[in-house]
């Protein structure tokens, strides 16, 4: 086990999203573990730019040949950009979950929830324990 990539510069949620912080802009996607568990992703749907997201609220959903899952943001804020290329090519999330498979960028109203996320070592241990 533990063969999933977990870049050290990112933060991780128990619901298997990753968060990259640059100033007050937070970029969110799903982890390598999540895409591996979901198997082939066939559909993504995000809220629209300009929409508000609550802390712990859903910003969209992802559907694979196995299951449909909600996508959650730990931070509250406004969606400023979504990766609309994924609508036509959702398989990019499987191929490159931390790069071209990024999902949304949120202008966070507070970054305090980021401190409660796991670092890569903790997330690795969390995945191994499942």
């Amino acid at each position: 086990m533990g063969e999933w990539k977990t870049p050290a510069e990112l933060k991780y949620a128990e619901s298997d999203e990753w968060f990259a912080v640059a100033g007050d802009i937070v970029t969110i996607g799903i982890t390598d573990y999540a895409q591996d568990q979901l198997n082939d992703i066939v559909y993504v749907e995000f809220k629209d730019p300009g929409d508000a997201v609550e802390a712990g609220g859903s910003f969209g959903e992802v559907e694979s040949v196995k299951a449909a899952s909600e996508l959650y943001s730990v931070v509250a804020g406004e969606i400023i950009e979504v990766n609309s290329a994924l609508e036509d090519e959702p398989e990019v999330v499987n191929a490159d979950p931390y790069g071209a498979g990024w999902m949304v960028k949120i202008r966070a109203s507070s970054l305090v929830e980021i401190d409660g996320l796991m670092d890569s070592a903790a997330y690795d241990a969390y995945c191994d324990s499942r």
Binding site: M1, E3, Q37, N39, Y43, V65, K66, R130
Partner: protein, 502 residues
């Protein structure tokens, strides 16, 4: 019907079997004046196959021979999808007096059908411990919808319309949260504990905290989708009732309870029956479904209508007169006419043939068979909740130290051993879930053969995983491209033909 190289057809499309002018019936000359079809209703872009009767019969017989059905062998999707449909059901449904009865027939001319529906209402009520039953919902999800609308209306009538939250465990069927949303209420999800039961601390927190006055009720499946009886169900029910909410039971898994545990006596206020699961009416490709709802006295006035009642009591002059009645504060009709009567008829025949003790035996054998398989398969596979199960149980579809093999690969390989695969990847809270439900009709030899196949597959996974990854090898169609199947939806031949013509 593509073969594995995705170009060769196992059987041509019916469009490709036809030729212009070839027909299956000869219509007599028209003996009344023809009136032209209104121009706005005419279209010429709809391709229709032009074929003779023999071609049609051979085409569909060939397709049916490529299929696998429960009439051929063990089908561990179980009552969830299709348990064995006794042939006496079909004989009954084809009796001319029923089969040719028009739904607008005057009640006086349909007393036999009304008697049957009335008795089925009573039997279903007795089996589950409810005072009243409506047969009108067309399927399980519509029964759920009716149930939640009744709960909503009950609260509104008591001046408690602010009750807008329905609690739903995280192991629930996906239809439960969908139903709640459709009914204009909101879902609050409850986690499971490590035994697969509802987490009681989370339930108490939801029912006794600041949301107490907003709890409209709870939807729960018993046994749960993990196949486990909620061992704290009485406390769950009293906790929700104490908060002022009502209890909805999703009856999808009634095959584990029928005539043994009565949900109405446990304290449930409403449940739906899946006549097409528990009561053996055809399903999956055959259908349609039928999702009767049962209620206690609290919800009786709100039942969807019409229900069948006695209009004139039996007296010395003869039998009672039956008729359709709209309950006093009914949430209304769920469906045109009277529900799917053909399914009421089959369910009636099923219950009539088994009788009281036979129905109880169905439940006992269903539970026994599932526990037998679970105990045998636990030697080879991980059972995440190793306790007595109901009519079904969940395995983790992986083999120790063989990371590449997934539940889907095991399922595909089962086809080579002559078995239909079980449900894959549900419930979602078990990784690589394989949900296995043998049902009551399987004999020990067939259960043992299934166990041997599963054990052989685990051995193959260790020795030669490629065999599993490329399975099935002997089915008419090899491994399908599931991603393409989901992304390129082609639901009708006509557009495909148009695309081919370009």
């Amino acid at each position: 019907m593509l073969a594995s190289d995705s170009t060769q057809l196992l059987e041509p499309l019916i469009y490709d079997l036809g030729a212009p002018g070839r027909i299956g019936v000869n219509l007599p000359d028209c003996d009344v004046p023809e009136s032209p079809m209104p121009a706005e209703l005419m279209r010429d872009d709809l391709a229709l196959p032009e074929v003779g009767e023999v071609q049609v019969v051979r085409h569909f017989v060939k397709l049916s021979q490529l299929n696998y059905s429960i009439d051929q062998g063990l089908y561990p999707l179980g009552s969830c999808t299709m348990k064995y449909n006794p042939k006496v059901n079909e004989d009954s449904a084809r009796l001319a007096g029923f089969a040719h009865l028009h739904p607008l027939t005057d009640e006086s001319g349909a007393q036999g059908a009304l008697f049957l529906m009335h008795e089925l209402q009573q039997w279903l009520g007795e089996i589950s411990g409810f005072s009243d039953v409506s047969l009108s919902p067309a399927a399980g999800a519509q029964g759920e919808f009716a149930g939640i609308l009744m709960i909503r209306q009950y609260h509104i009538d008591r001046g408690e319309g602010q009750r807008d939250i329905i609690l739903v465990p995280n192991s629930a069927h996906g239809t439960n949260p969908a139903t709640v949303t459709m009914a204009g209420l909101s879902v609050r999800e409850l986690p499971a504990n490590d035994k697969g039961n509802v987490d009681m601390a989370a339930l108490h927190a939801a029912c006794e905290g600041e949301l107490r006055d907003r709890i409209a009720g709870m939807m729960i499946t018993v046994p749960s989708t993990l196949g486990l009886f909620e061992s704290t169900i009485l406390e769950v029910i009293s906790t929700v009732h104490d908060a002022g909410g009502l209890m909805y039971m999703d009856g999808a898994n009634m095959n584990a309870l029928m005539a043994v545990v009565k949900p109405g006596e446990l304290g449930f206020d409403v449940m739906h029956y899946n006549l097409h699961k528990t009561f053996s009416t055809p399903h999956g490709g055959g259908g349609p479904g039928s999702g009767a709802v049962g209620v206690n006295e609290k919800l009786r006035p709100y039942l969807p209508g019409p229900v069948v009642g006695v209009i004139e009591a039996e007296d010395e002059n003869g039998a009672p007169l039956y008729g359709f009645v709209m309950p006093e504060k009914s949430i209304g009709r769920m469906k045109a006419f009277h529900g799917n009567f053909g399914m009421h008829l089959r369910a009636y025949a099923y219950i009539r043939v088994y009788g009281d003790s036979g129905i109880r035996d169905v439940t006992r054998y269903a539970v026994l068979n599932a526990n037998y398989l679970r105990a045998k398969l636990m030697r080879t596979y991980t059972v995440p909740y190793p306790r007595y199960c109901g009519h079904e149980f969940v395995l983790e579809g992986h083999v120790d130290n063989v990371d590449d093999v997934h539940a889907l690969d095991i399922s595909k390989r089962l086809m080579d051993y002559g078995f239909h695969p079980p449900t894959n990847y549900f419930p979602l809270i078990v990784p690589e879930a394989l949900l296995i439900e043998p049902t009551e009709t399987e004999v020990k030899e067939d259960l043992d053969a299934f166990v041997e196949a599963m054990e052989a597959i685990a051995e193959e996974a260790r020795r030669d995983p490629e065999t599993l990854l490329n399975a099935p090898h002997t089915a008419p169609v090899r491994r399908l491209d599931e991603v393409r199947a989901v992304k390129e939806l082609v639901l009708c031949c006509a557009p495909a033909l148009a695309a081919r013509a370009l």
